[in-house]
Subunit: 271 residues, 2 copies
């Protein structure tokens, strides 16, 4: 049929080339404990959701369950706050035992005021409360428990990736995410604290735009963008899901680490 | 069949409840110019990609094409740098005419050093270069053009949303995104600078976790997480796509604005 303004017909080729990212919350992951085999739980959850892992999928995992599986919970009753923790706890209006743990996990206190404690974590991340979380960690008989970040989340991501490769025979990427606040924007967003098998940063140096001009923005924090996307479907609170299957990550894969995302001190203008 | 460890069978109900977010890069959007009808171009692109807009879809649009359609490009030859712009341009090693535009779009200079100019944009966003972009903006006969942010991106988002409602008869959300750097992390990520029809912030105050403990993290920057997800599939450089269809945004919709994402001065600890 001839028309004045011919429609651009969509061809099977167009559809095949369609750039699409799909993020699926993995339901049915049981409560994770010290020693839980995360690759096995994740593989089972993928199947439970009617899917199969494929090479180039990326599994995004909430920090909380990685920390739990690695036994990073601490009984608050066992923590003795130092004088410095007591002083900071008073300023920030926080539990001194939690503050003691935060200090033990940190290199530097950047800011302290009522309700707010911004620290540089020993891994280099600038974040509130050194990532220590008191919510959603069960203690038997009401005992108070705090949960620290994994000792080495990049190593955790590599180990989980290797486990998934054994379990499914395919090469997936792994991102461990957490929620960070931002200096000048309200609300938290998901960020990558552990990365294996996908680029944390994508370097566009040398790329040109449509007019052939050199691009000025040279690096995209691709793993953080994926962590944020996954955080959106993980949700929060009661009905939260601690892992997400991402299919369609668009950048070329390479060995990498979340460490790449930490800005070096020498380039930090806001300390 | 009976087995020692019964598999959890997946039911059609499980699949229906499956929380899934899909992000589709909308191919086939032509070069946008002053006066381009974005709702019409977006609707055509959705159809070109073999899809139909549905209520509760969210269309994420790159700032660049919104600015172009609103005539926010400036010929650099017409810009006369002030003494202050000349001084800052010398410090930051940037084109003084661009710096003049940056200052005219800003309220405050936060940091200036070689290659870096961090400003508070008149809309309240703390960002590099006041969001002014010199790449990918065509000037006839090689003339140099800079592109400013839309005058009021929340208003742009509302207008595009209304246009899409007229075009498709459905109520979609709209996010206008841009790429921002972060104070302590390398690389840029997509953030929302204009929002209509979805919550910019999701307030979890009053929510409890699985153990019934009150959640401490109270606000999620959901529109920023979606902007980052979309940025990932938009890509950059030559083969970049300036709009993304997001299907499956998981939070309850409400009227909102990107303005909610700007942290008030009184709460800013890092100026």
């Amino acid at each position: 049929m001839l028309t004045a303004e011919p429609e651009l017909p969509i061809t099977p080729d167009d559809l095949a080339r369609r750039r699409e990212l799909k993020l699926i919350a993995l339901q049915g992951i049981p409560e994770v404990e010290l020693g839980s085999d995360l690759p096995r739980l994740l593989t089972a959850a993928v199947e439970h959701n009617g899917l199969r892992l494929e090479s180039d999928d990326v599994v995004v995992i909430a920090q909380k369950i990685v920390s739990k599986s690695e036994g990073r919970s601490v009984r608050l009753a066992t923590v003795k706050p130092s004088p410095r923790a007591l002083e900071l706890a008073r300023i920030a209006d926080k539990d001194p035992r939690l503050v003691e743990l935060m200090l033990s996990e940190s290199r530097e206190v950047l800011r302290a005021k009522t309700g707010v404690l911004i620290l540089e974590h020993r891994l280099g991340f600038v974040m509130a409360n050194a990532g220590i979380d008191q919510s959603n960690v069960p203690g038997s008989d009401g005992e108070e428990i705090a949960l620290l970040l994994p000792s080495d989340p990049d190593e955790s991501a590599r180990r989980i990736r290797a486990g998934l490769r054994s379990a499914c025979g395919c090469d997936v990427g792994v991102v461990i995410n957490d929620s960070f606040g931002r200096a000048w924007r309200n609300g938290v967003t998901g960020v990558a604290i552990g990365v294996a098998g996908i680029p944390a940063l994508v370097d566009l140096r040398g790329s040109t735009d449509r007019e052939g001009r050199m691009l000025r923005v040279t690096q995209v924090a691709a793993a953080d963008e994926l962590a944020a996307a996954a955080s959106l479907v993980m949700g929060q609170a009661d009905e939260g899901t601690p892992a997400v299957l991402a299919r369609g990550f668009p950048y070329a894969r390479r060995e990498s680490a979340a460490r790449e995302l930490v800005r070096p001190h020498a380039e930090d203008l806001f300390r």
